[in-house]
Amino acid sequence: MGPIYIMWLRQLKRYSRSRARMIGSLGQPLIFLLAFGFGFGNIYQKAGGGDYLQFLAPGVIAMAVLFTAIFSGIEIIWDRQFGFLKETLVAPVSRFSIMLGRTLGGATVALLQGTIVFLIALCFGFRPSLAAVPLALLFMFLIALLFTALGTALASQLNDMQSFPLIMNFLVMPLFFFSGAIFPLKGVNGVLTIVASCNPLAYGVDGLRASFGGESFYGMGVDMLVLSAFCAFFLGLGSWLFSKIQI
């Protein structure tokens, strides 16, 4: 049993013990499924888009993964305030392993959260081709890993939670809304497609949708490639910034 595993395990234990957090972070995806899925369904269909829920569900699953992942990463701020971070920072283990372990843990939690939303979407009438679930899980995990690492990178630069609203409103929300999660990128204003093409989540949503049998915008291979590259970059950045933390 190694340091990476124990860091991973800690994240999972914290998650499983905080029922409120688990349920709380399901609220937003649920609202999106209900309000958008049923609210826009009619218009979307009349506009010739087909069944909106089939389109929206992967986007909302990605949203659940995104939010949980960012939040898991940002949790380092709490560890810093409650002092536990010190315990991990002085351990005779490379800071890269510490960061990797906790990022894998956070990503696993985000993956679980995404899976719950997936199951809920099934109840609402989402009908993907189930053969593609393993591929979808892979995409979900990549999204989870990428944004946990991003959260870690951000949190290692912050001392308290005061910048949290800033991060939510100016980073997480735009990432979500400009990703093609709730509207198709095909045929929208050119500026928006350019914005989306710089957004790692756009490739995540696209890949996820494609693996569930939906239409892909970038092509699944491109999605996988770009997502993996972003993922590697943020893991590198996150662990570098994490290794520089002083207390």
Partner: protein, 265 residues
Amino acid sequence: MKNAIIEVKKLTKKFGDFTAVNDISFSVAKGEIFGFLGPNGAGKTTSIKMLTTLLKPTSGTILLDGHNTVSAQDDVRASFGIVFQDQSLDDELTAAENMEFHGVLYKVPAALRKQRTEELLKIVELWDRRNDLVKQFSGGMKRRLEIARGLLHHPKILFLDEPTVGLDPQTRNHIWNYILDLNKKEGVTVFFTTHYMEEADRVASQVTIVDHGKIIAQGTPKELKKKAKAKTLEDAFIKLTGKKLRDEDASDLESLRNQKKMWRR
């Protein structure tokens, strides 16, 4: 110094314009029990943070077991253990899980981990509560767990930043006996701070007194008492620093700080 395990040269730490540690140099010999004393705000914790790689010095160098704390952090971290002044437990985990976590990070073999966890949790009287979440513990219980965890692996150098603050005399005794035993049997070098002067007098083989980030006296407790013409180390301390030690104030401050943290959550 020959066979010095800690060597500090011209160590300085500035926070903006404020100099918390001001050009101090000292060394600690292997196997020593080194008391680092000083009034509140003297710069003790800041020094320990630099010694343990948590903080980069503004200038000066530190060698721990021959390794530089800035350029060879991984080697340095492999050579020490520490009990921090303020909380560093995960309170969403149980006492046993906190011990387990530490043992794995410090690569203590599983069997030894189990055996020591039991021994140490019994010493600090938390064995019966080992499966309770730490957030349900009282302040003193958390402190005891913190110390037990710090002693789970046996490092070359053990840093203890006011380890026994707020503990009852009996527990303090048990803990110090365990540490002294460790020092004697395994040659662990102990670097500690405390506000209890009789404690320092009893256990320390060497004492350094700091104030305002500067070293103002060094020697064995006996030498310091002689130098200050005082009967107790406490009196010597007061004469040398011109200050009264107020550990009550310190613990008040600490509880205030913790309360503030609670509110922020």
